[in-house]
């Protein structure tokens, strides 16, 4: 399950299956239909980017997949069983990164905690923590508390925690929103190399179209709420990507334009729904 594997070899095996998912938030005088009808599948080892306007229901979708929210209708099936709680071996980077770090622990202990839970030996834990913090460019803040860090640094701690965990499913909710352009580029490459190395099935929510195209094998475009899948675009860029050459290729520009057009459509026909 966690052995290294190439993506094409397992493309057909469905890992995650979202079927007619619907989510209505009730209560406190407001009832919001956040997600109307989402259906899509993700194969094992896929890297899928999800884009959509603000308030589209991306976070809602991610939380349902993580088993943190119960869908109002439809179902989320992971490895053949309906999700009803956080499945093992999954890591999530929350949009509310600041609040997802434990203020009573130092950065190192924050990253280490899930590893302890996995009962890894001390030496291995320490190695993983080091590597992860190094990878996100935070090798020098081990003993700081999260609230002593800047916003972008906090977000990177949350990312480090997820990658140190070596999950086989990785859910990330706008994980690079608070970091600068250069760091962002570095982190994008980090995610791709991680995915290559571990074969992690990854769902990546972002509002940056370039990022979605650069990272993903597929880009799911969501409409604005009540949400449906507007488009599911396969990204046929070469497997080896590079910030400079990939981004300046014509195919990149085409795909970028295609996603952009869909998003524009999503924004314009607010409410007027037309399933993909």
């Amino acid at each position: 399950m966690s052995e290294t594997q190439t993506q094409s070899a397992t493309r057909t095996e469905v890992l995650l299956d979202v079927r007619g998912m619907r989510k209505v938030y009730e209560g406190h005088g407001r009832s919001v239909e956040a997600v109307r009808d989402l259906t899509f599948a993700v194969a094992r080892g896929d890297l899928v980017c999800v884009v959509g306007p603000s308030g589209a229901g991306k976070t809602t979708l991610l939380k349902c997949i993580a088993g943190l929210l119960a869908p109002t209708g439809g179902e989320v099936v992971l490895e053949g069983t309906a999700v009803d709680g956080p499945p093992p071996g999954m890591a999530v980077v929350f949009q509310e990164y600041g609040r997802s770090l434990f203020p009573w622990m130092t950065v190192r202990r924050n990253v280490e905690l899930p590893l302890k839970q996995k009962k890894l030996p001390k030496a291995r834990r320490s190695e993983l923590v080091h590597q992860a913090l190094e990878a996100v460019g935070l090798a020098d803040v081990h003993t700081a508390y999260p609230w002593q860090l800047s916003g972008g640094m906090q977000q990177r701690v949350a990312i480090a925690r997820a990658i140190a965990y070596e999950p086989h499913i990785l859910l990330m909710d706008e994980p690079f929103a608070a970091v600068d352009a250069q760091t962002r580029a570095d982190l994008e490459d980090l995610v791709r190399s991680l995915w290559h190395r571990l074969g992690v099935t990854t769902l990546f929510v972002t509002h940056d179209i370039d990022e979605a195209v650069y990272l993903g094998q597929r880009v799911l475009v969501l409409s604005s709420a009540p949400t449906v899948v507007l488009d599911d675009i396969a990204i046929d860029l070469p497997e080896e990507r590079d910030q400079l050459t990939t981004r300046s290729s014509t195919r990149f520009a085409e795909l970028r334009g295609q996603v952009f057009a869909q998003i524009q459509r999503a924004k314009q026909q607010r409410g007027a729904v037309e399933p993909a």
Binding site: A66, G85, P86, V92, F94, P103
Partner: protein
């Protein structure tokens, strides 16, 4: 900074003491009934010379500490069990509300019946009264867990126990400590009241004897001793808090900026 705080505290206490001296002297009340501080101080000095006083103090502190320890252990355990299992919480809420206001003092005859005037009588009352203080604080603390934090823990596969240990416990800790501080005071009050009413040995009993003998200054000296015990308890609790909660917004703000 800590030194400055301590200084302010001493200043505050000195103001209070000056007031205690001034009120009877100014004739606002008769010094026969509320002797000025200086006379209470004299009685306090007499007390310090009596072996019996130290024994009584020891008795009270023992009853108080044992009772408090039992109440805190029980309160925290029961609170976490009930607080983290929603069904339990739902089904015990009414019973807790019902039992909580039954005053320990109403249980005195029962305590005497079962345990006589021994330490255990005092313990029963102390534990009963302070248990609720801790329990309720713990329940509120557990409720206050930040869902984003607990969801994070859940997604990383932390077991129920690990979540309690790493997420619920630190969140509830400030509440627990407030609960311990409240319970410490209630336990002291109950230990002394129980000694006073039941006649078990301790400061309360000494207060009763001084009271029924009309030894007013001595009685106030003993009251002052209970108050000082309270201050000491609080100083300890604050130490503990500073040590355990350095990450908490209420404490870290004082250091930053």
């Amino acid at each position: 900074m800590a030194g400055g705080n301590a200084l302010l505290g001493v200043l505050g206490f000195a103001t209070f003491l000056a007031l205690l001296e001034a009120v009877p002297r100014a004739g606002l009340v008769s010094p026969d009934y509320l002797p000025p501080l200086s006379r209470v101080g004299g009685a306090l000095a007499d007390l310090a010379g009596e072996a019996a006083f130290w024994t009584a103090l020891g008795d009270t502190v023992r009853g108080w500490f044992l009772g408090l320890a039992i109440a805190v252990a029980l309160g925290v355990t029961v609170g976490f069990v009930i607080g983290t299992v929603p069904v339990l919480r739902e089904f015990t809420a009414s019973t807790i509300e019902f039992l909580r206001p039954i005053p320990s003092v109403a249980l005195i005859p029962l305590a005497v019946l079962v345990f006589g005037t021994e330490l255990r009588s005092v313990l029963l009352l102390v534990v009963y009264a302070s248990f609720w203080q801790v329990l309720v604080q713990v329940l509120y603390g557990v409720r206050d867990v930040d869902p984003v934090a607990s969801e994070t823990a859940r997604t990383f596969g932390l077991s129920r126990w690990a979540r309690v240990r790493h997420v619920t416990w630190p969140t509830a800790l400030p509440y627990v400590l407030t609960g311990v501080r409240l319970a410490a005071a209630v336990a002291l009050i109950l230990a002394i009241t129980a000694e006073l009413v039941i006649g078990a040995p301790g400061l309360g009993n000494e207060i009763g004897i001084a009271q029924s003998g009309g030894a007013v200054a001595r009685m106030y000296a003993l009251v002052v001793v209970t108050g000082l015990l309270g201050v000491a308890v609080n100083v300890l609790a604050r130490r503990l808090e500073r040590w355990l909660l350095s990450w908490h917004p209420s404490l870290r703000r004082e250091v930053v900026s």
